[in-house]
């Protein structure tokens, strides 16, 4: 029986995640980019006629999530591939030979961190938009309104799930460039493909991450044909679980 367990591995992963600069740069960039897009959207609508609605401002000011998902997805990938690329993975597996315990710890620590950063970034987008429209006739959106609070929270969840898809893809591919490229491809290519089918593409499009983000998760009311926001967010978590499971199966049999 091993003396160590998930708790020990999680402490190791927490120290590792916090002690490389890329973690902090990617997290800060995700928050800044969402705040900036939110503010930019607000400024753009200030003198817009007809006067924008609260929903218009909110939906568009969360648009920075398109960039933030790439940053946090890369963060999730690097948590795994950063170790393979440098040989660190051998130190890690020598310390904790039960590899799935390591993967579970990475999922918990990286997922928790990315969810936190995702929520902060999402709130920054909301806040940027609201601050930029102050003093105009555009109605303010209150977080006390469930229709406003829901997309802000779900966008944070979406970003956290994207980081976990990154962890799964990183575990499968083990190479930073290949895994980040694949992750970005998974985010954008399906949307382009669905677009080719026009109106009828929606039946498939509602399962596509970026379309879910822009039309179901980060909006006050989903466009017809798409799932409710929370269903889309759960679907993203399901994709993450699938990627992590596949990675976990291969992890056991491959040489480190």
């Amino acid at each position: 029986m091993n003396g160590y367990g998930f708790r020990h591995a999680a402490r190791m992963e927490r120290i590792k995640l916090g002690s490389v600069r890329s973690t902090w740069w990617l997290a800060i960039a995700a928050v800044v980019v969402m705040g900036a897009v939110g503010a930019g959207v607000g400024l753009g609508y200030r003198s817009h006629t007809p006067v924008a609605t609260a929903a218009q401002i909110l939906n568009n000011s969360l648009g920075g999530a398109i960039a933030a998902q790439l940053l946090l997805g890369a963060l999730g990938v690097l948590v795994v591939t950063g170790e393979y690329g440098t040989g660190m993975i051998r130190s890690t597996f020598a310390a904790v030979p039960r590899r799935r315990v390591v993967l579970a710890a990475k999922v918990a620590v990286c997922g928790g961190a990315a969810l936190t950063v995702g929520l902060v970034a999402s709130f920054a987008g909301y806040l940027g938009g609201q601050l930029a429209i102050r003093g105009t006739a555009i109605p303010a959106a209150s977080l006390g309104d469930p229709a406003i609070l829901r997309p802000v929270l779900l966008t944070g969840v979406y970003l956290g799930a994207t980081a976990l898809i990154g962890v799964g893809v990183g575990t499968l591919l083990r190479h930073s460039g290949a895994a980040i490229g694949t992750l970005f491809g998974l985010m954008f290519v399906p949307m382009i493909v669905v677009g080719l089918f026009g109106e009828s593409g929606i039946a498939v499009g509602r399962f596509v991450p970026l379309l879910m983000l822009l039309n179901s998760i980060a909006v006050t009311s989903p466009i017809p044909g798409l799932f409710a926001g929370w269903v889309s967010a759960l679907l993203m978590c399901g994709y993450a679980a699938l990627a992590i499971l596949c990675g976990g199966v291969l992890l056991r049999y491959r040489d480190a």
């Binding site: 160590y4 190791m12 002690s19 440098t86 040989g87 051998r90 130190s91 597996f93 030979p97 049999y253």
Partner: protein, 248 residues
């Protein structure tokens, strides 16, 4: 410390293939506590692969590697039982030595004070907050030694520890390893430098092309040859994969 059977490394018919190439071929050896055992062989003879299989990083195709009778993966606290210096690259270049050690210490419930202790032992206390990517090869080797010592283990596995060390560092590691063995620990050190092994090790395990060529002592190997180096070449001449010829 009293030598313990829990610290014996047993290799039983250990075999590893990569594609069609046999890296380690039916290797059976016992490595005992109390002495430094040198693991010698030409480049590509399977030393590092054997080390990785002992640590459970690579899975053998056949046979097994046991530590105190159990596979590495079943050890209760791996770092408190076996300390390993892997190739000096087994560290993230963006992380400081202190954070690297603190993370590994946390994984095996080793107190934080031990991190500062091993940093002092290897002489990296001053540089401990610098990113490991800025270290020289010799400093990375010292960090690797600090990782190996972290859990105060009874078994030490070191893969080419003198690579990149200056003469002072080589003497330091030699004295350190002999001291650890004298305390009753099992010390298994790979090298392709026969002269260095002659000074550090008492027992020798010599392999070539993944097969055991000799299990002997430094004294016995040197007997009957002009030098230890000649004896080594005689032993491995049929089993050296990569050999240059004189430039003309």
């Amino acid at each position: 410390m009293v030598p313990s059977v829990d610290w014996v490394i047993e290799l039983r018919e250990l075999t590893k293939r990569y594609g069609g190439r046999v890296a380690v071929d039916g290797l059976s050896v016992d490595v005992r506590p109390g002495v430094v055992t040198g693991f010698l062989g030409p480049n590509g003879s399977g030393k590092s692969t054997t080390m990785r299989m002992i640590l459970g990083l690579d899975a053998p195709d056949r046979g097994q590697a046991l530590i105190g009778g159990v596979p590495y993966a079943d050890l209760r606290w791996p770092l408190k039982t076996v300390g390993a210096l892997l190739d000096a690259g087994a560290v993230h270049p963006g992380r400081s030595a202190r954070a690297h050690l603190a993370a590994l210490a946390a994984s095996n419930d080793i107190p934080r004070s031990r991190v500062e202790q091993v940093l002092r032992v290897v002489g990296l206390s001053e540089a401990a907050n610098r990113r490991a990517g800025t270290y020289s090869l010799g400093m990375r080797q010292r960090l690797g030694v600090a990782v190996a010592l972290l859990g105060d283990p009874g078994v030490l596995l070191l893969d080419e520890p003198v690579n990149g060390l200056d003469p002072e560092g080589i003497r330091w590691i030699r004295d350190l390893l002999r001291g650890l063995a004298a305390e009753g620990r099992t010390v298994f050190v790979s090298s392709h430098l026969i002269a260095e092994m002659a000074l550090t090790a008492e027992r020798l395990v010599v392999i070539g092309r993944g097969r055991l060529l000799a299990e002997t002592t430094v004294d016995d190997l040197a007997a009957g040859a002009d030098s230890l180096e000649d004896a080594f070449f005689r032993l491995t001449s049929q089993d050296t994969d990569y050999r240059g010829v004189g430039a003309s």
